[in-house]
Subunit: 345 residues, 4 copies
């Protein structure tokens, strides 16, 4: 089968690889219908993710059709259309039982990282019954790809951790795909204000169309001053950090109000300064999270009922044969306007 393989830092290739086979009683083999590229894939390609060795097939998102299941799989059948979660969950270890699938003893983020992933014609998915979700009748397959990672990440790490609630004020720092996923899913809780901050006017315009009540360009505006003026001098209830660099984290500290929550979503490469000399008395929380995808069943229901439309995140479509071009488009997002790209084997 064809597969996109991480060769070495800076190098990737579309290669022929053997079709995967069942290895454990709770495995499934899934034929990929649609997959996509994540910012994390770019991190791997830069050599920044040591757990991912050269030779690995990338990709941890997608929808597909079940081709084969292990002997212990009873609730999924060959031919079922399924959503592939970016997080594999055994359903039985301590962490899974607590809903923290990201830290599953034999799962977590393994697809396209420590085992072969979804940017291929087929993928082997461990712990199939607790890591795949049957697609409801009539839902759009491309929309469902957004539920593998980007929507639950924005929702769980940003919206749920940030305790967005009716009437609350929310700032999202970073209007990339993850920030926009937080923006879309935050609206499930009807906050009064959603302020989106970025340095790219194009992305800010998308944010405005997606429901931001105010967009701010941090290259031009004094964000802290504007946010205070928008919030009766209090600061926001929730600040979602969706970039992953010290400057954006620091901005969150500046705009968070007493009693507020800084919900970190960004993948950080270095330490940041935590100003406890000012914040110790401010009753704030800072949260971190690797997406657990515990909210996937709920997000499926909200998509199905039309409460959110994930297709808005999709800007480009490619065949698997052109996946190198897809990577190129996704990497040059500021120029291409790419958010999420769909790849079809």
């Amino acid at each position: 089968m064809k597969a996109l393989v991480y060769k070495s830092p800076g190098k990737k290739a579309l290669e022929q690889r053997p079709k995967p086979t069942l290895q454990a009683p709770d495995d499934a083999i899934v034929r990929i219908l649609k997959t996509t590229i994540c910012g994390t894939d770019l991190h791997i390609l830069r050599g920044d993710v040591p757990t991912c060795a050269p030779g690995r097939i990338l990709g941890h998102e997608g929808v597909g059709v079940i081709e084969e299941v292990g002997v212990a799989v009873t609730s999924l059948r060959v031919g079922d259309r399924v959503l592939i979660s970016c997080i594999s969950s055994c359903g039985k270890c301590d962490y899974c039982r607590q809903g923290m699938f990201s830290h599953c003893a034999t799962g977590g983020w393994i697809l396209g990282n420590t085992i072969d992933g979804t940017q291929a014609e087929y993928v082997r998915t461990p712990h199939a019954e607790t890591s795949l979700y049957p697609l409801p009748e009539g839902v759009d397959e491309e929309a469902m790809v957004m539920l593998s990672d980007v929507l639950p990440t924005g929702f769980e790490c940003g919206v749920l951790n940030g305790k967005v609630s009716p009437g609350s004020t929310l700032a999202i720092v970073g209007a990339g795909p993850i920030g926009l996923a937080a923006l879309l899913t935050a609206q499930l809780y009807s906050p009064a204000q959603i302020i989106v901050i970025d340095i790219d006017d194009g992305r800010l315009e998308v944010a405005r169309q997606f429901g931001a009540t105010r967009v701010l360009n941090s290259a031009r505006e004094d964000i802290a001053a504007v946010v205070l003026s928008l919030t009766e001098k209090k600061g926001v209830d929730t600040a979602v950090e969706a970039v992953g660099v010290p400057a954006t984290y620091t901005l969150c500290e500046k705009i968070i109000g007493p009693g507020g929550i800084i919900a970190n979503v960004g993948v950080h490469g270095q330490a940041v300064e935590l100003h406890l000399e000012r914040l110790w008395s401010q009753n704030i929380s800072i949260t971190t999270r690797l997406v657990d995808t515990v909210s996937t069943p709920m997000l499926l229901k909200t998509v199905r009922s039309g409460k959110i439309d994930p297709i808005r995140l999709i800007t480009h479509r490619f065949d698997l044969d052109n996946i190198l071009e897809a990577y190129d488009t996704f990497e040059k997002a500021i120029d291409t306007g790419a958010l999420k790209v769909i790849i079809s084997p």
Copy 2:
């Protein structure tokens, strides 16, 4: 009346001052029966608290008898014995309505800070009905002084923010009065392990007597290694920072497990490093809080029912005339073994 006055950085004096008088309809004048000294008073005396001007009567803790009430005060009577909360709460601003009394628009920590405090024969208490608590019949007055600040601080900032729960594992970094208050009140939730960490063996011995399941001297032991070995390599569910310096905060980061909470209680004078490059994926929270004293009614009930015995925190007793000696004893706590000192006018 006699009162302990902050004169200038490094200087304090026991002076004669006029007895306070009612200034607002919801004020009360309270005759002090017992008061105490807090670590924050020492901060003020070092000149570290800019909101507190020279000339201020110090003290934000105590019990007393109501001498006089304003016209709007209907639920308290002259002669009532009351607990004085360290936090004044108007009960009607946005923050008070949300239970965040520490940020009350016209209150918060003002006693012995921006208005005269309790280390005197009398004190004026603003917002009396929502800042004083009538003492139940038969409770010990000295025990009640511990409910002004130290117990609610350890409980709210450490135990509640840290979500201590039955069967959970808890580490408390710092065995001073606040850390010990967290230790006493944590036991209301029956955690399976309470590991207390300090550099002073005397304080660790107190912690052991107060219910620590394990005490560790960080001057001698590799804390991170021992904590991992005590927690099946996971780290603790809750780490309470009860010192307020970078090293102790950093220690909390090292021992916190996935899904855990670092509950900061310490008053910090400088920024710390937050290692988001490691923690972004660890599903942890870091919380800060100035005590709100929302838990005071509940703590009163637990003390009254014998679930906690705050008297264990009291090591020394002085007359108000000897308050300078009391300060000396409290300041040299490592040598004197002082935890909380009771001062009686």
Copy 3:
């Protein structure tokens, strides 16, 4: 001044009464701009509310302008436009401190019940600072009247108690003003399905326009069967009882799914059967509540930000001089299509 007075069971009159005067330091006198009639007023007029004695001015809803304040009132000024909460809250008793204003030791539902109410030119409001809410700039006065009682009741007793959440399934039994208020405010949490049940097709049509995903006429349809078919045979997550008779409560028991909540909003006049022989193992909850109006500040924000539009509940408008006609229109709601009627002095 003119006022609508409850004379005796079955009798009411528009009479001249003296303008109210301040009685306590935390009182305010409010000149009424807009008021309305509640189903509870009809209960009083039938003689069903023993706490309300003949001679009482009715009404517990409205907006107005502050004419005078007691000496203890510092945060409200003469001339402020305010929302009058149906629940008076002292802000300082045990129940108020727990957010259960409905059980305030010296407040609760007293306006138009145990003290004179708002269907008049002026009203005295006790505990003014914790029972009145300044109107934000630019909000519609008539919309605000809906925040005195009907919206917080539907929201707190139905939506909050019922834990409506994104993707959940909700049934509302009864499409009167309270049921419709639950319907409007439930959408703040984006449930996947909102099934509204009534016996009047007119009200069901209104429910459909207000956002019901399905309406069912219980006079014609087998509700339990249809609800099961709409919910994969599980039953709903939340059933809001918004009528107050045994039959509608029983219907809620029939449609609630395992793990679900029956949130009672209706005012009941007799006991109902609770089928514990079937429900003991179904992990359900049944909740009751007299509105606390703790959510008023939050609802103000959602109305101001356009998330809900309470004006949709208003069907008729009258001058105070014509309040008897207003009562008539409201009482014959099935014929007149009345939901909420606005009365202007």
Copy 4:
């Protein structure tokens, strides 16, 4: 093997049966070390549980040693000592993923009900990895049998559903094994008062020894009056119904305070009256639950750390050969003083 078999209403027998064999990849065969009898077993023997057909081996509690595992079982090994949960949980259906194992699509309460149970030398346990819990080193086997059903039932249905909290007031109606299990586990949350009510002085004396702060005999005392006098006229915060008849439920309604929770634990055979005409405005909740055993890992930790001592519930011990005598002793509990009886094959 020897097994206790339900023959027909009123009849049971100790018989020879074939040793069970693996039927599914996630099964385990467990050799029973200790088992016990539950009140539910008596219900079955009276013919009150239609799901349980004659010929069934009874018993849903016990500890044992794993003899054999299915091919999908990876985290349990032959020779492991395990606790057998009374609830079988697949870990992958919607209900299991929500922590509501009692309603597992292919599990729930099936042992000794719809499949053969634990009152035998061996038992087959479906969904082994999510229904068995390895015993920690050094814990007492008999203590662990109490964690199969009685302790999690008292804890989840009574204490957790009832939101027992530090300083709160709790009444437990019924001092049988389940009520006493609620009593033991409630103390994990340090309520200020635990009032236990029964008609048997012997059981009340046990309750007193187990930590009740007050015991009341409802055959002799006016319970409602006494409870009001003990709670400042408010009623209790939590009332646990641990009997299962209308009179005890009604008593809970009489003693519950505003804002309180009636947590039903009892297995009811008929409907009760719910006095909504009085309770609609009292902000109360009534909860029901079939134990989910989600708290088993946590209870294991609290037992291991010495926070609760389940052995106190064990009054008698028998060999499997004498199980008919064990049933007799358990059934005549008022005379024999039996709480839980241990049976050893």
